[in-house]
Amino acid sequence: MKGRVLTFYLCGVLCGIDVSRAKEMNRNVEYTVVPGAANKIAGLMNLRGQIITLFDLATILGFSRLEKRREMNCVILKARPHDSDQAGFFVDKPGDVIEVTADMCEALPASLGDIESRFIREVVKLEDSILLVLDLDKIFGA
């Protein structure tokens, strides 16, 4: 892909999403756990009167979490016309917005270990690290 990518860390892995899909980033959010909901659902939060469903992206992607999530930072996604409900997800640490060009992208490696590779859109090689660009449609469409 080409364009600007919003990056963040999830369990020590640098991930990113198309910045145009992000609505905003919130720190120290308060949220409500939904007993009985699937594991991937972290809970619900109130964003200025809107109910946002927060996902636990690490669980969805199959990352193993070494320690308990401490900071409550989350990325809220823009609602698109066909979405009936708004979604967001927790990140461990916000990163940057970086410009990605086509030549930086690489095909998905055959195996990413336990990581759910179907949710990874692309692997971007940065100077000092690897960035996994996530496929939001697959993650939230499912």
């Binding site: 409500t32 009167g49 939230f140």
Partner: protein, 997 residues
């Protein structure tokens, strides 16, 4: 339409006076006004007119035709024509003009419309509607068919002009100049129209009814041909380029007072062009005319339509945002209150201000919600047409009765209601109502009646849709369900009538013999049900064979704000809608009357004689919490779900709050425990609990030990559990009702009658690979025996019997859980425990073991003899379950023992102190003092230390047996194993005698 033309006219008028030509003026109009928006408005208004036409025509068909009605239809058609012309929609003009022409003729003839005319008009109306809905494409729509039908209708029957119209206007005759035809022709040449203005001034309002400069006003828009100005009358003939409605506006008079005259006119009366008054002050005058009876038509019109004029059209989006803001303001108030609570004492008069705001907010909220309320008429009014068309296409005579049209519901509910209601009506006409021949045969009136009644019941609206048709054939429902693999025969056999009826709502279920294009595609009722449930309502069906079917819809009046109780469980707040809360019970430790008890490991609360199961919210949601601390004060919320009442314990109970319920996000839709989400006063998100789904989840725990094949409809309120018995109700070939204790039945299955094989004088069936002896209860009981007519029969397989048999019955009716007194005296026979009254019917309770003995006397005879004791030994039977007590007692008495009864360990000890007992037979699990405690007490008392005690249990387990024997029981026996029990009793007694000897 009026709104539109008004706007247009204002602009036009201004331009006129400014001296623009018509062409210039239109040019300006098109650039000043947003064509698209105007067109949209036209469509909206046009659709309203179409609706009015439809209603008028249908009324006319039902014989309610009157001049007012026809005029209203006429005006509506005319309005469409007028504005369609403005937009250059020629086809629409053509069609509405043809309708208008036909209507004019009908009106002038003063006769009733025949069905050809009505059909032609209705089909044209449909076309108009179609064109309006697709206005951009309307020019390409084919209208010739409709036009031809209208023309046919026009000539089909002559509607000669009535000589004297009863309610027609009595207009003052003009002394029109003889050359008026010429004048008209001249005017036409110049593109002008000729009008006749006719005003009558009422004396009471005469001073301001006609502005003195009316004539000069006319001159400003055209030429006056003739004018006659009396003291309270004005008649004027003039020419102008303006359309009639514009003239009315220009002159500030009602359109009704203006008549357009065309050149081929014979009489001005033929061309009366009535148009809806634009709500001017003339409506007043019209009303006064009505009092004088001079112009009934217009007066009635002014009277009925005035109400409508008081309404304003508001954009739905604006209303919706208003509703949202209203809800937000309620939340804001709640927030404010929570935060300011602690300053109430510190700031003087804060409380008063808050209260004021509170009241205002509540009122504001209510009023805003009211704006969304719409009368049911919005949905109901579409139904007569539907019923008419369905009736025609199915060839049935159907009459529709409607009641409660004015009940108001939230807009979203009204909208969601439309489809299900239409479906129910279709169903009623198509499946419910019989064909004419069938009705003739059953001596019913040929005209079927479908009635839709709406009324308010508490905070809900109830709509019932009933037909007087054939009713639902349960047999065929059952057959279809099996054919379509919805159920297994076994499941079906265990179902009661009500459940079978509910199969109608099963997805994919259809009973109609053939699929018609009206309904019966097998999708529908289930969708109707889910649509109704989506908006928080429910639907029930009841049906009487031969009499008809009724669907009852219960709907909430509004959706959005719900008064609720905020509770806490697992450190989290939840919202419980107050509708579901019956009461809150405070239980203090040591209270003898109100306390939480344990029955079979389940917590129950005895509340005023009602035993309510208690569930813990946190546990229910899958969270673990510490046990309820029994020593502290507990509060139990008594929650009423759809069909059950239960107790709910939570960690904390907060205040009540009005919450704005939002739908559960799609991502967590699978959590059934919630009906919505809300934002609390503190800004936190909280889940709204759905008691209906909380209850079954926990209820199933209590019943899962039961046979899975059976569904239980317990009686709504649980009686005291000690006397609760579950019965399976069934019928044999005769009319008698039978019952059997459900715990004795292992399973129920359906078999085909031709599977039965007769060997000797006994019947057998190949059942799951082995040969099963069949018993028909009516062969052995003193009841009526009839030849079986059914091809499917039900087989009851009893539990824990020595020789397997199948009890063959005709039909399973129901399972009930009820506290009954079995009367052992009135109806007495071997094979029966007695009779009982269940659901107001006498039910014979079958003694399964007696029945088996009757059927196979040779097998049981020896056992009887070995078990017989003639000595008068006394057995103390300790058993809390009435049924088991009865069974075991009968065994023992049958064997010649004297039996003393005790309901629990404590009672048993009392009896032991008073009476001489030779052997004790005791249940293990009992209230107050259980069997283990009892036996320990017996062993610790030196008088009874050697008394034989036999444990009876329904649970077979080596560990339990070990425990029992260690506690001091001599023997451990399974309940209902008659032979072994008697053997053990005899053994225990002989051992005792041996010891004593």
């Amino acid at each position: 339409m009026t709104l539109l033309t008004k706007r247009y006219t204002r602009r036009k008028m201004k331009d006129e006076t400014d001296g623009f030509t018509l062409v210039d003026m239109q040019g300006e109009v098109s650039c000043v006004l947003d064509y698209e928006a105007l067109l949209g408005e036209f469509v909206n208004e046009g659709l309203t007119h179409v609706q009015r036409i439809e209603k008028g025509l249908l009324d006319a068909e039902r014989g309610l035709q009157d001049t007012e009605q026809i005029n209203a239809v006429f005006r509506a058609a005319h309005s469409i024509k007028g504005t369609a012309g403005f937009f250059g929609l020629k086809k629409m003009v053509e069609l509405s003009h043809a309708m208008e022409a036909l209507l004019a003729k009908i009106r002038n003839s003063g006769k009733d419309m025949d069905s050809v005319t009505i059909d032609a008009l209705l089909s044209a109306t449909d076309k108009l509607k179609e064109m309006l809905e697709n206005v951009k494409d309307s020019e390409n729509t084919e209208v010739n068919a409709q036009l031809a039908r209208l023309t046919d209708a026009l000539h089909y029957k002559q509607y000669p002009p009535a000589a004297k119209k009863s309610s027609g206007s009595t207009r003052r005759d003009f002394n029109i100049p003889g050359n008026y035809k010429e004048i008209i022709r001249d005017a036409k040449k110049r593109g002008q129209q000729v009008y006749q203005l006719n005003l009558s001034l009422d004396k009471s309002s005469g001073q301001n009814a006609v502005s003195p400069d009316l004539v000069s006003k006319i001159k400003s828009i055209g030429n006056v041909v003739y004018c006659d100005e009396g003291c309270n009358e004005l008649a004027c003939l003039f020419t102008t380029v303006l359309e009639p409605d514009l003239v009315a506006l220009a002159l500030d008079v009602s359109e009704a007072d203006i008549q357009q005259i065309s050149d081929d006119a014979q009489k001005p009366e033929d061309f009366n062009v009535f148009k809806k008054s634009s709500g001017s002050r003339y409506s007043l005058e019209e009303t006064s005319w009505s009092a004088k009876g001079e112009n009934g038509v217009m007066a009635a019109y002014g009277g009925t339509e005035k109400k409508e004029d008081e309404r304003v059209r508001v954009d739905v989006a604006l209303l919706d945002s208003l509703v949202n803001l209203g809800s937000e303001i309620v939340l804001g108030r709640n927030q404010l209150f929570r935060r300011l609570e602690k300053y109430a004492a510190a700031i003087p008069e804060l409380t008063a201000s808050l209260q004021h705001i509170d009241r205002l907010t509540t009122e504001l909220q209510e009023k805003i919600m009211r704006t969304r309320m719409q009368p049911l008429a919005n949905v109901f009014d579409k139904l007569p047409r539907l019923v008419r068309d369905l009736g025609k296409s199915t060839g049935k005579n159907v009459q529709l009765l409607m009641e409660g049209k004015d009940i108001e519901l939230d807009k979203s509910i009204i909208e969601a209601l439309a489809d299900p209601l239409v479906h129910l009506i279709r169903n009623a006409v198509d499946h419910g109502v019989e064909t004419l021949e069938e009705r003739k045969n059953t001596e019913k009136s040929l005209t079927a009646i479908i009635s839709i009644k709406a009324h308010r019941e508490g905070g809900r609206a109830v709509i019932s849709v009933s037909d007087d048709g054939a009713g639902v054939n349960l047999e065929s429902v059952a057959r279809k369900a099996i054919q379509q693999n919805i159920l297994t025969p076994g499941q079906l056999a265990a179902m009661g009538d009500k459940e079978r009826l509910n199969l109608l709502f099963h997805p994919g279920f259809s009973t109609s013999k053939q699929i018609t294009d009206i309904s019966g595609r097998g999708v529908g009722l289930d969708i109707a049900k889910s649509n109704i449930e989506k908006i928080g309502g429910n639907i029930e069906v009841s049906s009487v064979w031969g009499k008809g079917t009724t669907f009852r819809l219960r709907l909430p009046l509004t959706l959005v704000v719900v008064p609720s109780l905020i509770v806490e469980a697992a450190n989290q707040q939840f919202v419980l809608p107050q509708v579901n809360l019956r009461e809150i019970v405070r239980i203090t430790p040591g209270d003898k009357i109100r306390k939480i008890e344990y029955i079979n490991g389940y917590r129950v609360l005895n509340l005023r004689g009602e035993l309510l199961p208690i569930i813990n919210l946190a546990e229910c949601l899958g969270k673990t919490t510490g046990n309820i601390v029994e020593c502290s004060i507990t509060r139990v919320l008594i929650v009423r779900s759809e069909d059950r009442v239960f107790g709910l314990t939570v960690d904390r109970i907060y205040d009540r709050e009005d919450v704005l319920v939002k739908p559960v996000p799609q991502y967590i839709k699978e959590c059934k425990a919630y009906s919505g989400v809300t934002i609390l006063g503190d800004g936190k998100v909280a889940m709204v609990l759905d008691p209906d789904s909380l209850a079954p989840a926990t209820m199933s725990m209590a019943t899962e030990r039961q046979d899975e094949n059976l569904t239980y409809i317990g009686q709504r309120t649980l009686g005291t559990m000690a006397e609760q018995q579950e019965f399976l109700l069934f019928k044999c070939s005769g009319p008698e009702n039978f019952g059997i204790n459900l715990p004795l039945v292992a399973r129920v299955d359906e078999i085909d009658a031709d599977q039965l094989q007769i060997i000797g004088d006994k019947e057998y069936v190949n059942y799951e690979g082995s040969i099963l002896r069949i018993l028909r209860p009516e062969d052995y009981l003193p009841v009526k025996k009839l030849a079986s007519r059914r091809s499917k029969l039900c087989l009851l397989i009893p539990k824990s019997v020595k020789y397997p048999v199948g009890i063959l019955v005709e039909r399973i009716q129901d399972t009930v859980q009820t506290a009954v007194d079995i009367n052992e005296e009135d109806i007495k026979a071997k094979g029966l425990w007695g009779s009982a009254v269940i659901h107001d019917k006498i039910v014979l309770i079958v003694n399964l073991y007696d029945l088996m003995e009757l059927a196979d006397p040779e097998r049981y005879v020896t056992e009887q003899e070995t078990g017989r004791h003639d000595c008068c030994q006394t057995v103390l039977l300790v058993e809390d379950t009435a049924f088991f007590a009865m069974v075991v007692r009968q065994y023992l008495e049958g064997a010649g023992y004297q039996v003393l009864m005790a309901g629990n360990g404590e009672e048993a000890l009392n009896l032991l102190g008073k009476c001489a007992v030779d052997v004790v037979v005791s249940d293990i699990s009992m209230p107050v003092m259980n069997g283990l405690e009892l036996v320990k007490a017996i062993r610790s008392n030196e008088n009874t230390v050697s008394l034989p005690v036999i444990a009876l249990t329904s649970l077979a387990s080596a560990r339990l047996e070990q425990e029992g024997l260690e506690a001091g029981f001599n023997y451990y026996e399974l309940k209902l194993d008659k032979t072994n029990l008697l053997k053990k009793v005899a053994l225990a007694l002989s051992e005792r005698e041996g010891r004593l000897a």
